[in-house]
Symmetry: C2
Subunit: 210 residues, 2 copies
Amino acid sequence: MTDTPGLRERKKQRTRTAISEAAIALFLDRGFDRVSVAEIAEAAEVSKRTLFAYFPAKEDLVVHRFADHETEAARVVRARPPGTAPLDALRAHFLDALGRRDPFTGLNDSPAVRDLYRMLLATPALVARLGRFRTAAERGLAEALCETADASPLPARLAAAQLVAVHWVLTLDNAEALTAGQSADARHPAAREAAERAFALLARGLGDLS
Amino acid sequence: MTDTPGLRERKKQRTRTAISEAAIALFLDRGFDRVSVAEIAEAAEVSKRTLFAYFPAKEDLVVHRFADHETEAARVVRARPPGTAPLDALRAHFLDALGRRDPFTGLNDSPAVRDLYRMLLATPALVARLGRFRTAAERGLAEALCETADASPLPARLAAAQLVAVHWVLTLDNAEALTAGQSADARHPAAREAAERAFALLARGLGDLS
DNA sequence: GATATTTCTGCACCTGGTATACATGTAGTC
DNA sequence: GACTACATGTATACCAGGTGCAGAAATATC
């Protein structure tokens, strides 16, 4: 049962995290643009060529941590209890994530996460790279809506785009509040309130805007 | 009344378009990644340094054409007739743009535009760069909603994100149909229908999804 | 322990983008 | 029209991210 991954696989995993951690430490210390990949490779005791074997681009040294979340919305929709609307499942999941201080909600004030967000938001190249995850998340969510809700392709894509966009705004809003110095606990009520209003807006539409 | 822009200014404008056109011609011929900026500079009879004085990055040689549209949604909202809801103004504007075959709707099948879109969608670096315009458009629209509709900041940002996201999906959908070979005229009815449904969804919300 | 297969490395190389220092052309002034 | 002031363009060298390649080192398999 306990299939050991094998020495080779374990070593690969260790090298990977060693590279990533060396990179992030340097980035947090001096800023993304002021650290060269050559330095990172040296710090991780690895050749530059090897670094690029693990991470296809410099930006990925940071944003690979968000890779799991790119399929999260789709998973939540697929795994929702029968009889639950996708929107309700996503709202419940987001509120729960706020409670857990899930970094993906922006509401986590541990220094490591906070500083990482600060760097991320201050570095256009990283924001651009995150945009790709956003696109992938949209596509995945649209598929999930197509399959499990009885949505036809276009409405599914539209709904997915709206949902992901809103999630992004909420996360950014929290991250900005925390990078401005607020604590996660202090921010939590406002974050909940904002999320509730956002999902209500999604459910009822923009018809009230005048 | 006819204030001549001056020789200097005219020359600048000519160099600028010469560079951009040389670039796009080469890109369309061989693909974005297979053309180096050195080649473009040579083709435009300009030094590489000068090229970068006009366009800060290679991608901008293409996407600078979309720069105007980055403020379009905000302008539409600000210029709407009194008593009109922002959503209605934006819907009317989009439908009108479809009728005009505005390239920004994706519904323009002139070879130049079609090939440009094809290249754009096939080149991740360009899509990423367009993402910045999307972000800027969101921010601008949110401001406009804040000022002219009586929306508070967060709802305005949420609504703007949703609106821009939907616009993007509709445009992509049209562009994909056209790059697949359909003519703009043939696509037009479906494009209108899609837009109507999309704006209806925005207005009434996702509450129906189950 | 021998061998096949990954993985890692060093090196040369390409390309996007910038710094510097200098040449050229344009605009206004006398 | 010559003179100055300034904006613009050029050549060159340079840096950093990223790739191709050939071979060395480590791991897995027998």
